[in-house]
Amino acid sequence: MSLHQILLVLKREYMTRIRSKAFILATILIPVGMIAFIGIVIGISVWDSDTDRTIGIVDQTEVLYPRLTEISPERYEDFSKIPQDSLRALVQEQEVDGYVILNEDHITGNANPEFVSGGSGGLGLQQTIKSDLREVIRNERLARANVSDDVQKIYESQITLEMRKLTKEGKETDSDTGFMTVVGLAMGFIIFGSISGYGGLITRSVIEEKTNRIIEVIASSVKPIELLLGKMGGIGALALTQLTIWITTLIGLGMAAGPVAQMFMTPDMKENLANADQAAQASPALDPEIFSIPPIDASLIIYFIIFFLLGYLIYSAIFAALGSAVDSEADTQQYMFPIMVPIFIGYFIMFRAMENPDGMLSIVGSLIPFCTPIVMITRIAITDVPFWQIGLSILLMIGTFIGTMWLSAKIYSVGILSYGKSANWKELMKWIKE
């Protein structure tokens, strides 16, 4: 095997792709697309909450309705003067979403109120009405029972949980589990996306050389294994470049956000030069930290790169073999499915790992080499994964990579020179045995 040849192939793969419009567009459009997607999701939820529901309340107690309007002045309407028949008609005509009749029994007895609706509103609305009614009835009962202020306060008190994290060094800090969960998910998602995306790119690149018929010219100069390694290396370097661009942009934006925010403040402050000193003092009050990203452990980033690379290597070898076995991109379907299954299993376990990073499924998933890169990085970000698990998973991945590489080299060296038709599973087995 000649390193010189591998590097020549690697350089070509890298250089021709990094200048391509497709790469430049993807580098810009994927983050823009993701931001747009998040924006749309937020937009939808904001827009959605605007659709107000109207619930008619027939309040025979005369005390519950005022309490309800305190909680939500817009949702509930006093329908006490409207006869029940008309109420039903209003619901049927969808003038109101539903109505509730409240009487003394609901306060003094144990009777449950009934919500009559046209079926619209869904679970969310039912939950809201339930909790609103529970609150007003409970408060009314408390008021009537003449309980002491102390007891009332107990009921009013809102208990939340303060998150603190004790580091190994014995320092107590604000827990960042929420933030780290997002980071872990993002990292797992990036690895998931890169493996499928760049794997597909490798498959296409191999097929391209076959359909262009340049492969035989190349094969008369380079060993198949050199071509394969060069290709995997070149596209891997491309993937790393793209990630680096994204991460530095993100960090850059995070760091720039504070100063930029300050810059926008300055013109206002400039109006009064005499107060310039004060302005300088005032600006730290607008904490630039709000705009910047909380620190991420360097070790997490190193693990991210390790798992990204190992995951890429394992799968890119398989994707290259796939490309060599088929004759056109349309024929990749029958093989694509079994390759994508473990990637998707990893992807789904990742969401489980987000909720329960130390659960059995998460641990097992993070040790199965085909799922490790996606699951393990999420776990490492969220929880303290024992080092033996990390070490074992890395060893297993290296072993798996050697296996997939060996298989891929076998299939690839035969596959690239067989034109005309796509190989079936039986032929693949024969190539491997050769």
Partner: protein, 306 residues
């Protein structure tokens, strides 16, 4: 010493044996033709010589060295299935391919410029292959084959798919390369092209080398047992001839191989009774005829012979 020496090579793909116990030698400075119908094993043999495939048994040496990655760069190879990277610029592509053959970047660049100038294609340097016409990209393919200046050239079915201008140009290049002392191996299933160019031949049929040697000697050995006849009139007399084999038959031409030592004068008489004879010539057999008489009529698919 032979530049390429092939000894007893075998190669099977599953149950099909593509090459069976083939041996031949190619002397330095000659044009060597590997002939035979499609599927005879020519491309497999060529791939083994190029170290793209490994023979199951037997040896191949190039300039005395066993085939390896090193011997690959001594050879300029143009495969039957030709192609280039469509989205890569002509200049970059030629430099890349020459570098893969062991040239430094500077050397590769110099050669690329030299050959592009020579083929009056200097302006194409910055064009992508996809923008070029078929004839133009064929020229680029030649350059890619010869740019690293090897002393052995292998062309697999070089004339298939070539337009007449490039076909003629390739012939000139091949002869020019030979005259400079290089060795050329090419394969074809179109026999008539070989007759004009080859010094040595090797006939392939069903994976075996059935006939090999110097083209002149082979032809002389077969003797002047063939008649080329040109005529006008009723061609049906050709069907009445006995103990002959007719090749290259058309409305007013036929190549008649005389079997069993029949008198050629009798054939002339029969012909004169039926048609007006423009030309009657006693010649050495064509390569097609030599091939047929070597492997036997029953053993070939005549549709695959040109």
């Amino acid at each position: 010493m032979a530049v390429i020496e092939v000894q007893n090579i075998n190669k099977s793909f599953g149950d099909t044996q593509a090459v069976r116990d083939v041996s031949f030698e190619i002397p330095k400075g000659r044009i060597f033709g590997l002939l035979g119908p499609n599927g005879a094993g020519k491309t497999t043999a060529i791939r083994i010589i190029n170290h793209i495939l490994i023979a199951d048994s037997g040896t191949v040496t190039i300039n005395g060295m066993k085939v390896s990655s090193e011997t690959q760069s001594m050879i300029g190879y143009m495969p039957e299935e030709r192609g280039l990277y469509k989205k890569m610029k002509v200049g970059e592509q030629l430099i890349y391919l020459a570098q893969l053959k062991g040239l430094s970047h500077a050397e590769a660049k110099e050669k690329t410029h030299y050959w592009l100038d020579r083929f009056e294609a200097t302006d194409w340097y910055h064009k992508e292959i996809g923008e070029l016409s078929k004839g133009m990209s064929q020229k680029i393919q030649f350059i890619a084959t010869i740019a690293h200046n090897p002393d052995i050239y292998i062309f697999d079915e070089p004339f298939s798919g070539l337009d007449p201008i490039n076909s003629e140009m390739l012939k000139e290049i091949v002869i020019e390369l030979r005259d400079k002392g290089n060795t050329i191996l090419f394969s074809t299933h179109r026999m008539e092209q070989v007759e004009q160019m080859c010094d040595e031949i090797c006939l392939f049929n069903k994976g075996r080398a059935v006939l090999k040697g110097n083209l002149r000697n082979i032809k002389q050995k077969f003797g002047k047992n063939t008649i080329n006849i040109e005529f006008e009139g009723d061609a049906s007399f050709l069907d009445k001839l006995e103990d002959v084999r007719i090749n290259n038959r058309s409305t007013n031409f036929a190549e008649i191989r005389v079997l069993n030592g029949q008198h050629m004068q009798d054939i002339l008489k029969t012909a004169m009774d039926h048609a007006e004879i423009y030309k009657f010539e006693r010649v050495e057999p064509s390569l097609t005829e030599i091939f047929i008489s070597t492997v036997g009529e029953d053993n070939i698919n005549p549709n695959e012979l040109g």
